[in-house]
């Protein structure tokens, strides 16, 4: 996810540093507000919040270029697998059947498709919004990593292994991004 943010931010900076910077602040603020508005945070509700910036990330990346968008979609798809595993485990613990839990997890992430298309459409109409969109996706993703993913992982596993896995993941996305350019 940090790798995705890196790739998006370097594209954003090429298109306007001020706009992508302000966009990033909007993105951070948006997730903070969404968290504050969520009264009972569980895997499904949090997943729905994630789906928004992830969808926007794919949409704006597609607007930058098809290879970049495909790389972005691949990276986020890989990222969604462990995220869904956690969500499904939580649901089955509370008595849902495995197939229903899986369906629900996919349905939550289907929001990504909607937001991807919406972001792509907005940028197609107003190209000036691209830097803002890239920035906003970056801000939201970085905040999600800091506020949710990392603290949760530290609770589940040792610091050193988390650090290693995260760095390897970032490295792979950076390489992927470099190939897609």
């Amino acid at each position: 996810m940090l790798g995705v943010a890196y790739a998006l931010m370097s594209s954003g900076l090429e298109r306007g540093a001020v706009a992508s910077g302000l966009g990033a602040l909007v993105g951070i603020g948006g997730v903070v507000a969404a968290h504050a508005a969520t009264k009972r945070p569980d895997a499904i509700r949090l997943g729905a919040i994630h789906a928004v910036p992830e969808g926007v990330a794919i949409g704006v990346a597609m607007a930058v270029g098809l290879p970049f968008g495909a790389a972005m979609a691949l990276a986020l798809a890989v990222h969604n697998v462990p995220e869904a595993t956690v969500a499904i485990a939580g649901l089955t613990e509370r008595g849902r059947s495995l197939s229903r839990a899986t369906l629900l997890a996919v349905a939550v992430n289907a929001g990504q498709v909607v937001f991807a298309i919406a972001a792509f459409a907005v940028v197609a109409v107003a190209p000036a919004a691209l830097a803002w969109g890239l920035g906003a996706a970056v801000g939201a993703l970085v905040y999600l990593v800091m506020a949710e993913l990392l603290p949760d992982s530290y609770r589940g596993a040792g610091r050193t292994s988390i650090a290693l896995v995260a760095i390897v993941a970032v490295g792979m996305v950076v390489l992927l991004h470099d190939r897609a350019r």
Binding site: V142, R159, A163, V174
Partner: protein, 242 residues
């Protein structure tokens, strides 16, 4: 002026600028657990933002080389930590885990200014006439790095002067490395992406292995996350503007 001396002098100015990062802590006397967590979050964000710059610059020269350097950087830190763990450490009047962490942080930041020093030297040797501009850019860029070191050291009750001294120390490799890099530009240039990657890998590891988990243990998660995210973005924009 002798060009070699000029490169050294410019590098030294950039190193001294790092000490300015300790300045805000003159005005902050008492440190609550919340302030401590915030300082760690801030340092983590600033360092991750700096990694972004290193990786961006490294991939310009070669993505695979940068990543290979990154793997070496992580392995290097793991080895350094194992080496430190086997020894009784005393540092800044502290011993044990706290001393070890401060030492590792300083080691990482010092290692990273090796690469930056090489970058300065290569830039000068590349025939640029913008020497003064580059120096100012790196000097200003060093201030938040000093801030990161000081934030961690100050939160462990080190005096401000000590924070400033170690901040400057961490940048001393810049003038020392700039000169040989300047003299051997053509030899050094292919190694540069490895060096930049090494620095980024080492820094990212320290952030994820120590600074962030410490911050999350000491203070409220949302505040740490907010501060870290904003400082990542701020550092990236700051470096981009230079």
């Amino acid at each position: 002026m002798n060009p070699i001396f000029a490169v050294f002098l410019y590098g030294l100015v950039t190193a001294l600028a790092t000490g300015l990062g300790a300045l805000p802590f003159v005005f902050v006397k008492e440190l609550s657990p919340f302030a401590r967590a915030s300082a760690h979050g801030l340092a983590a964000g600033l360092m991750l933002g700096a990694c972004f710059g290193l990786v961006a610059e490294g991939t310009e020269a070669g993505a695979t080389e940068t990543m290979a350097g990154g793997v070496l950087g992580v392995l290097g830190i793991l080895a350094a930590r194992r080496w430190l763990n086997d020894r009784p450490i005393e540092f800044g009047g502290m011993s044990g885990a706290g001393a070890r962490q401060m030492l590792l942080l300083i080691a990482v930041m010092t290692a990273h200014s090796f690469s930056e020093g090489v970058a300065v030297g290569v830039a000068f040797g590349g025939g640029t006439t913008l020497a003064a501009t580059i120096t100012v850019a790196i000097a200003v860029h060093n201030v938040p790095e000093g801030l990161a070191i000081s934030a961690v050291m100050r939160s462990r009750n080190q005096p401000v002067a000590v924070c400033a001294a170690w901040s400057i120390f961490s940048s001393l490799p810049q003038p020392l490395m700039a000169v040989p890099a300047f003299l051997l530009v053509e030899t050094v240039r292919p190694v540069l992406p490895y060096g930049l990657g090494f620095a980024a890998g080492a820094m990212a590891f320290v952030v994820l292995d120590a600074l962030l988990p410490d911050a999350f243990e000491q203070g409220p998660k949302p505040a740490v996350a907010l501060l870290a995210s904003v400082s990542v973005v701020a550092m990236i924009l700051f470096q981009h503007a230079l």
